[in-house]
């Protein structure tokens, strides 16, 4: 059986992917925090991608497939440390994949890398510039990771590398920025704005990753779900209440609260509540026949059963 290594295996999406792949692959994983009740046949190593232990693991275990989804996406800690872990960790991982002859690599990016701008056309394809850092400097590490992985893809054609950029992932296990946002009882919105948004069920994302590995895909692909609705509809459908705030109050308010460690997101995130970042998903559909199985209603319902 071929071996797949998953970084960030203890996260919601990591666990789902483990479940999906364990019949086909021997699964092993790393995470920075332990996964208490992991399946017995899955080896979970608690370590830092930047440290020697990770290289040792690749050298001894020699996985043929690697899925890199272990990133820090929240803003709770030191931003420099987050940047260092995400960017340096990815750099190390890419080097090791090359050295220890990994055949297939999937790097999880996201739709956020394109950036939310008023001039965004509908349905961005994969060739659009990654401009997120312009208005949202706090996630420039994620843009760098995407760019680094894309560069690796072209430099090492012998490794089947795929960069996936999914739209907002929802589901009971998802801790995506949008899932966390919609889990709030009162979701602050920008008064007078209601951008169209796309959503993807966590099971569909898991399928997309599995199909990518199974079909030896290489390239950069958006991953989209069953459709799009305005932000306020999504809030209503997931059982929340929208709380429209005039932008002249919202932005300084968030800046102040974030500075004091009392807001979960920096002010740059507000642009994603104002302008659409919708992606074209046809490239992945054509490449591996991926089609989201969960409709919008089911996807929203999956978040509603929240604790």
């Amino acid at each position: 059986m071929e071996k797949v290594l998953i970084t960030g295996i203890g996260s919601g999406p990591g666990r789902l992917l483990t479940e999906r792949l364990r019949t086909r692959f021997e699964v092993l994983g790393v995470d920075r925090t332990p996964w208490e009740d992991h399946p017995a046949e899955v080896a979970v190593h608690v370590l830092d991608l930047r440290k020697k232990g990770f290289e040792d693991l690749l050298r001894t275990e020699r996985p043929s497939h690697v899925v890199h989804m272990g990133f820090i996406r929240h803003f709770k800690g030191d931003p420099n440390r987050r940047h260092e872990i995400n960017v340096r960790g990815t750099k190390q991982l890419l080097d090791h994949c090359h050295r220890y002859e990994v055949t297939n690599l999937v790097v999880m990016s996201s739709s956020y890398v394109y950036g939310a701008f008023p001039e965004n056309p509908f349905y961005l394809d994969e060739d659009q510039p990654l401009s997120a850092s312009r208005s949202y400097p706090e996630i420039r590490d994620l843009v760098e990771v995407d760019t680094m992985a894309t560069g690796f893809l072209w430099r090492h054609p012998e490794i089947r590398t795929t960069v996936l950029r999914p739209v907002s992932v929802l589901g009971p296990n998802s801790r995506s920025m949008m899932a966390e946002y919609l889990r709030q009882e009162r979701a602050p919105t920008v008064l007078g704005f209601d951008p169209m948004m796309q959503f993807l069920h966590e099971q569909d994302l898991t399928d997309a990753i599995a199909m990518t590995l199974e079909q030896d895909l290489a390239g950069v692909y958006n991953v989209v779900g069953a459709g799009q609705v305005p932000l306020h509809t999504a809030i209503e459908e997931t059982g929340g209440v929208a709380w429209p705030i005039p932008e002249p109050l919202f932005r300084p308010g968030v800046r102040m609260l974030f500075g004091a460690g009392m807001a979960p997101w920096p002010p740059g995130a507000i642009d994603y509540l104002k302008y659409p970042v919708t992606l074209a998903g046809d490239a992945l559909a054509q490449a591996i026949g991926f089609k989201a199985l969960f409709g919008l209603e089911e996807t929203f319902r999956s978040l509603r059963g929240r604790g």
Binding site: G192, V229, A242, P244, E247
Partner: protein
């Protein structure tokens, strides 16, 4: 968006209280026509580009009041607009885009079958609260080439004013003088093999006589332009109301152009000049035919 919609609906109801029967009649007509448009809406009533008839039907009824009772619009040759993908290219004037609104309503009320015209808006519109929302729900998009191509490939009816603000904010002495046309629409038409219907709108050029345009100040304030008209800013917001001119919308024969869209500027320019000349002809004809600006 419960609170916002509430406010909007209250406003609509107030108008309804003043003009009850006319508005109700307009609403019935708009709903009836909207029902005849084969739009591709998802389970939440939205199309792929944010169009939401349920949100826009009320503002369309208000526009219909303007169309019928304020501007008393007449159309000529609307049957020439072919089915399927099509670009409506018209002159732009009058400081505020009532011409786009009237052209949109004409295609909804008078064309058979009715069409929902998709407007290509200025880049600043998405930055304006409420307006960005209203524009998108009404089927309008930011005027990027990608958006225009996507709409045409979905066989939509797209309206473009190639003069842009140059036309809309020109001063009174330049009325009915077509300004420079951008070339972008022609490249997209060639690329997507879309027929072009030239349109001359008579009336909008007199609706809001522009005296001057304070471009320097506009730039400093971050506005696209700051026209001074006979009534604005003299009468305040009331001065934004256009004069009750009569609108006459003249549709020309559809023009088919061949090419790839990657030609040199002068090749594209020649094709654009043909469209411009056709619009100019329609405008002259329309002005000769009419008995007066307000009649």
């Amino acid at each position: 968006m419960a609170r916002k919609r509430g406010l909007f609906e209250t406003f609509q109801e107030r108008i309804g209280a003043v003009l009850p029967s006319a508005l109700q009649e307009a609403q019935t007509r708009v709903d009836d026509r909207l029902a005849k448009i084969p739009t591709r809406l998802n389970e939440y009533g939205y199309d792929a580009f944010g169009l939401h008839p349920e949100s826009s039907r009320r503002s369309l009824a208000t526009s219909t009041l303007f169309y019928r009772h304020y501007f008393r619009t007449e159309t000529f040759g609307i049957e020439k607009v072919p089915s399927g993908r099509v670009l409506l290219i018209a002159n732009h004037a009058g400081q505020l885009p009532f011409d786009g609104m009237m052209l949109g309503v004409s295609m909804l009320l008078e064309a058979e079958p009715p069409r929902l015209v998709r407007g290509m808006g200025e880049y600043f519109i998405p930055q304006l609260p409420f307006l960005s929302w209203a524009a998108e729900r009404g089927g309008n998009l930011v005027g990027t080439p990608e958006n225009c191509v996507a709409l045409l490939e979905a066989d939509e009816c797209v309206m473009v004013f190639p003069e842009g603000a140059r036309g809309m904010n020109k001063t009174w002495d330049h009325r009915y003088e077509l300004q420079r046309f951008g070339l972008g629409f022609m490249r997209l038409a060639l690329q997507t093999e879309t027929p072009i219907v030239p349109i001359g709108i008579v009336g909008s050029e007199e609706q809001q006589p522009g005296l001057m345009n304070l471009e320097g100040l506009a730039k400093r304030l971050g506005l696209p332009s700051l026209p001074v008209t006979a009534t604005f800013p003299l009468l305040g917001p009331l001065g934004l109301l256009p004069l009750p001119v009569r609108y006459r919308i003249h549709f020309g024969e559809p023009l088919h152009f061949e090419g790839s869209g990657s030609e040199e500027d002068d090749v594209v320019q020649r094709k654009v000049n043909e469209v411009r000349a056709a619009i100019d002809g329609l405008l002259q004809e329309g002005r000769e035919q009419r008995a007066g600006v307000f009649r």
